[in-house]
Amino acid sequence: MTDIAARQLPRSSNGKIGDPLFRGVATFFAVLVLVILSGVMIALVHGALPALGHFGFGFLLTDSWNPVTDKFGALAPIVGTLLTSAIAMLIGIPLAFGVAVFITELCPVWLKRPLSTIIELLAAVPSIIYGIWGLFVFAPFMQSYVEPAIVNTLGNVPGIGRFFAGPPLGIGILTAGIILGIMVLPFISSIMRDVFETVPLILKESAYGLGSTTWEVMWQVVLPFTRIGVVGGIMLGLGRALGETMAVTFVIGNAHRVQTSILAPGTTISASLANEFTEAVGDLYLSSLFALGFILFVITFIVLAIAKLMLVQMSKRAGT
């Protein structure tokens, strides 16, 4: 008896040192996550200040980008980022919705898992692979088939024709946007799938019982019920599209001009950074690139924060 008691004594005292220590370490690393994000913000502001101070608010509104004369403006990359992301959303949202509908409503049970895995592997393929594939395979395809067709049809429509005009180069805003659309598809569709599955079965069954078709159940029961979650998923995809770097860098053409045609080469914030950062000489040049990074960070932060808030609201509702 005494033996056991003696052996147990030091053990029970373990908790006195071990517990606060373990708790402290865990708390420290949790706070470190906050420190990393604040650090990112501080580093970007610190790097961007010289450029923002020098150019002022006009930095956002001018599209000159001239390292020789030290004149920098962020308009072209900002417009390029927004345009490519808009095209990506136009392509990615319907596709993602179709995939989510197919997986939740139409596909046989045995196919669900493998199909979901394949779609998720689409997200696992690194962006540089999309880039090299886009440059060598997709851009030539766009150049010889898709873009001439666009120029010959939409390009001749009076009024909107100039948005689809110009020589078919293969690389440009449109190509980058399409590749981005495919890249964000799995992120959006997996969230859509998750929120679609939170719809109480009884709601869907009642609608089917009343004779609704699958389309009517999706459009009038499932979507209204999951609206916040779906929009949250879309915002998350948008956040990804805005910040995507390598896939875009390969196929955008890196031209610092604001052009009317979506077939023309352009640039995005991330592509400018990837292409120019290590070659930037001069403090103002480097600082201007930091300022671009800061703008990108602010935009994506806002988009992702909205996405997160919407998804939290969705999961709260699903819980009740």
Binding site: S12, N14, G15, G18, D19, F22, A26, T27, F29, A30, L32, V33, L34, I36, L37, G39, V40, L44, P94, L95, G98, V99, L106, L115, T117, I118, L121, L122, A124, V125, P126, S127, I128, Y130, I132, L135, V137, T213, W215, E216, M218, L236, G239, R240, G243, T245, M246, T249, F250, L273, A274, F277, T278, F290, G293, L296, F297, L304, A305, K308
Partner: protein, 284 residues
């Protein structure tokens, strides 16, 4: 029988349209993956040979391999994981075991989810500012730290999710036997959540193995063999970027070879991670 009301016919047509569109969308998505894999095999297999793994990156216009970038990538991925995974596990432990519904845990969770989707190139800028500028040169260490920062949010998320799934009864039983809380977490909760946490770490490795953007301004590139983490270090993604954008056929072929290597490594990691994850649900 044949007299179907026009309204019913219209509804049926609309439904057929949706079904067809959903099927088409799924086909496009699936086909896209296979087209990419097919092109990778088509262009990459010719570059795949023993020289790819035994020779250094060549100067333009001559033959060579990818030994130094392969080693650099492995080294930085391993170090990045060794730094990032413990941080992520501990932070995830805090969220699941200590913080739970507290305000600070809510903030950490929110920020972590933003870091999870934040553009990786921004992380590169951050590490450039805090490490490369301070040290005065690009380095393998800076690359590893940038990758570690990308590992953290993935691991935090999965660790928390997996620990939350551990039934409270297990913790209560261990506590009732007199185990202090840290011991309950380490020997009971971690053990029960082991496969899930492992899955998270593997997914994180798969994510950083192909990351290019954060390495561009941190590890940069190096034409030569080095294991010195204080010097610029070659790595597969940046080499692929540089070689693919070059006009030289030899370099482009090597880029395809590297792309094939990286993609299949990542896909295998991903699939293994999924298999590990299903294990745990079977054993429970």
């Amino acid at each position: 029988m044949s007299a179907v009301s026009p309204i019913y016919a219209r509804r049926k047509r609309a439904n057929m349209l949706l079904v067809a569109a959903a099927l088409a969308a799924t086909t496009i998505a699936v086909a896209w993956l296979f087209v990419i894999l097919y092109e990778l095999l088509l262009n990459g297999l010719s570059a795949l040979g023993p020289t790819l793994f035994t020779q250094m990156t060549p100067p333009p216009g001559s033959k060579g391999g990818l030994l130094n970038p392969i080693m650099g990538s492995i080294l930085m991925t391993v170090i990045g994981t060794l730094i990032g995974a413990p941080v992520g596990i501990m932070a995830g432990t805090y969220l699941a075991e200590y913080g739970q519904h507290s305000r600070i845990a809510g903030v950490v969770r929110f920020i972590n989810d933003i870091l999870l989707s934040a553009p990786s190139i921004i992380v590169g800028l951050f590490v450039y500012d805090i490490m490369v500028l301070q040290m005065g040169h690009f380095s393998g260490w800076a690359g590893s730290v940038a990758l570690a920062i990308l590992v953290v949010p993935v691991v935090v998320r999965t660790t928390e999710d997996m620990l939350t799934l551990v039934p409270n009864g297990l913790r209560e039983a261990a506590t009732a036997l007199g185990a202090p809380k840290w011991k309950v977490i380490v020997t009971v909760a971690y053990r029960a959540a082991m496969q899930g946490m492992l899955t998270g770490i593997m997914l994180a490795i798969a994510r950083i193995a192909g990351e290019t953007a954060p390495l561009l301004f941190t590890a940069l590139n190096n034409q030569f063999w080095t294991t010195n983490l204080n010097a610029p270090m070659a790595n597969l993604p940046v080499v692929i970027f540089q070689f693919a954008m070059s006009p030289y056929a030899d370099w482009q072929s090597l880029a395809w070879g590297g792309a094939l290597l990286i993609t299949f490594t990542i896909l295998i990691l991903n699939i293994t991670a999924r298999i590990v994850a299903t294990w745990s649900s079977f054993s429970r």
